[in-house]
Symmetry: C2
Subunit: 454 residues, 2 copies
């Protein structure tokens, strides 16, 4: 290829036919999930009341490296994939950096983010098992939108517990989900026991992702033919999201490129885990020299300031416990913070890789993130989601380091989505009204004190 | 190619290097624009106070069939183009039609619509001429957003007169433009003489596109180094938008396909004119048998119920007069109607083609349009803009006719944009609160009575 194009798309034939399960190649496995009642490791069948069987199996599968993507899922992937691998020529020029910057853009679908990749898989397996409804939670709304789309496509009814502050601040997100016929409930709600309990203790609460998870899980486990699905954190989600990294790697190979540094934003880890998966294999198995950087908000810094400990995945403490980097399931991030990445924990797979030194992490304040977002929008003509903009900030900083050192590094980052539903935050930034929030050590200690004692 | 893929992208090398100027191949030309004071045909130099020189030249160029796209514009096109040609397999299946349905999707850029194609060209030529600022108007906001992006990219300050009801109902659209550093002013405003006049006559007015045009033109012609740019109606805009049709035609040829019917929504005609241009050439020059259908809202039916007459392009009557299908420049469409396509007139090129029998037109009520939009979103996983959904409605109806007759027609329609900023309208539809508005014959007669008497 003479000149690398701005946008590079794989053909349908070049699209991955299998997901990649990074666990199969990890030198050490993440610690097992525990049953909170017995403190014994969870078995696959223990998950059947929560997840449909195939997903429970994927959740516990630490051995199969490559898993066939069912034809029906591939079919839907083809409607909106492959996503483009974009060479950020304009950003490079603007920064005057010798670095080459690439990004894998997952925002060109109606859900506006990468979340659709796993939503389709989860809705498909549920439908195949003959389930009659699903529940989930959503914070900023990307996951709920993606799952609404997938459920409408496969014809399975969905209830979305939407964190109350988002429900109120993002009526348009709600309207998109309703357009796809989802039943959207503000959380905490009085439709569940855990919701009623939280409301009675704190009637003014604006909700949290952890609390919405509790409600969705309770509803699923107490409703006939219903299961729960989750858009991040879980092993199965990282498996499905490996499509991002697999496509990116194939595309870079076809362009004769390979990244020195791979950067992704990290809330629960769905995008980062999917993006890095095949590249991390190269590091673990083929000993390639490649850096991975997880970027999180300074307001919810689970990797950079959290503890590597067993914790619940939800505020209501109804889920199994996982060992992960966590701020404590009682940690509720400031409503001041824009967009997603507000989850208290981090994918156990990513937590383990970080703990074992295979990955770095940095945290940024949101005003610095929006500065990068605005610059990026102007030169690359994509209005990025606040979540994605964390990765942009880091990629810019890495490229500027290259400018200082003169190194011609190749940087790949994940642009997970678009910011159309985040204009309130952009307005605040444009008008100079955006502020930063960093939890104090005391804030964190208070949440750590509530970690389960095991 | 064995099986036609869902999404087909041209490579960078296959992208058009020239725009196509349909006027060069029309058997009869549209009537000339007239100077309203002298009623004499406008000459190129008469347009210099309004448009930059190169654009004034393009506006009046009825002879050059193919015009080179400057490298700088091609460069920016490559950032977000080519747009995909999508085979609507799922929609075909849902409708159980023997028809093959294709759509050219122009919504995968931050402006969310095809408008960026002309915005880039206009900002580029203005910058090249050394102009120091631009003005424009915007209704639903797509054009303003597109031009804000283009102006940010080329570094030229922009003032956008935004129809007041949109300014108030669509704060997020405004915020996107401001993110790209545009100065957004609600119209009518007291920053212009015409705005002050309209406000003094009707202080409660929610504005109109025609009125915003008047303000933007006045501001441009009374400010040093400033010119006006327009997102539709004009010949130059249709020229730039021919990139849509050229890409679509090349893509279909590479797939071994050719449309029997080409369908596009029509407000001022920018998308429709661009989409059909090279196919209309085939009809006019090569006598190909191909149908063209313009789809407009029943609430603003310029082709189906308007008059073919000389009229002003703006409410304030400051622009040259053009002969076109028009409802009269005094016609203000019901605020009840969602989204764009609210312009009183229609591109003179398209008006002439329609008048001479080369094109058909239909009008739909908005509830029927949103029905189609919702069905489309569910099966094709793209949330369409209300404007674009007019074309979807028509394509569905044409495909259903094929089902009745058993004809395996190939239908191509233009999906101009996404509906993320139209969720208020979607909500109204979801909640059964959307109503239709059709102007009565008396309403139209009242507006016709105000047409210039020439």
């Amino acid at each position: 290829m003479s000149k690398i194009p701005y946008r590079f798309y794989l053909s349908e034939e070049q699209m991955p036919k299998q997901w990649y399960n990074l666990r199969a190649d990890m030198p050490e496995q993440p610690d097992p999930m525990l049953n909170p009642a017995t403190l014994k490791p969870i078995e696959e069948k223990d998950l059947y009341p929560i997840f449909c069987k195939e997903l429970a199996h994927q959740e516990m599968d630490f051995e199969t490296a490559y898993i066939d993507i069912p034809e029906e899922i591939q079919e839907m992937y083809r409607i909106y994939r492959p996503s483009p691998l974009i060479r950020a020529y304009n950003l490079e020029k603007e920064l005057d950096t010798p670095a080459k910057i690439y990004y894998k853009f997952e925002g060109n679908n109606t859900s506006g983010s990468h979340k659709l990749n796993s939503a389709i898989a989860q809705a498909y397996y549920a439908k195949k098992q003959g389930l009659t409804s699903l529940t989930t939670e959503t914070g900023a709304g990307q996951w709920g939108t993606a799952l609404s789309e997938a459920c409408a496509y496969f014809g399975i009814p969905l209830t979305v517990y939407m964190v109350k502050c988002s429900y109120e601040q993002k009526p348009y997100r709600k309207a998109v989900m309703q357009t796809f016929d989802a039943n959207v409930v503000p959380s905490p709600s009085n439709t569940t026991e855990v919701g009623r309990k939280i409301l009675s203790e704190n009637p003014e609460t604006t909700g949290s992702l952890g609390c919405a998870i509790s409600e969705a899980v309770e509803k699923a486990t107490t409703t006939e033919g219903c299961r729960y699905v989750l858009g991040s954190v879980l092993n199965q989600v990282l498996l499905h999201q490996s499509i991002i990294g697999l496509e990116a790697k194939t595309a870079m190979e076809l362009l004769g490129e390979y990244p020195d540094t791979v950067i992704g934003c990290a809330g629960g880890g769905s995008n980062l885990g999917g993006l890095i998966a095949p590249f991390m294999r190269d590091k673990l198995v083929d000993k390639k020299n490649i850096r991975f950087i997880a970027v999180e908000p300074a307001s919810c810094p689970s990797l950079t300031r959290g503890k590597y400990a067993y914790d619940f995945c939800d505020t209501g403490r109804v889920t199994p416990m996982a060992r992960m980097y966590t701020l404590g399931c009682g940690f509720i991030p400031s409503a001041n913070h824009a967009g997603g990445l507000r989850y208290h924990g981090m994918s156990p797979i990513l937590s383990k890789l970080y703990h074992d030194g295979y990955m770095e992490a940095v945290a940024y304040e949101q005003t610095k993130v929006f500065e990068a977002a605005k610059l990026f929008a102007k030169v690359e003509t994509i209005l990025p989601a606040p979540e994605s903009s964390h990765a942009i900030r880091c990629a810019i900083d890495e490229a500027l380091k290259c400018k200082e050192t003169g190194e011609e590094k190749t940087i790949l980052f994940g642009l997970t989505g678009t910011g159309y539903f985040d204009m309130t935050a952009y307005s605040a930034f444009n008008e100079g009204k955006m502020t930063d929030y960093i939890p104090t050590d005391e804030d964190l200690q208070k949440a750590f004190d509530m970690l389960p004692k095991i």
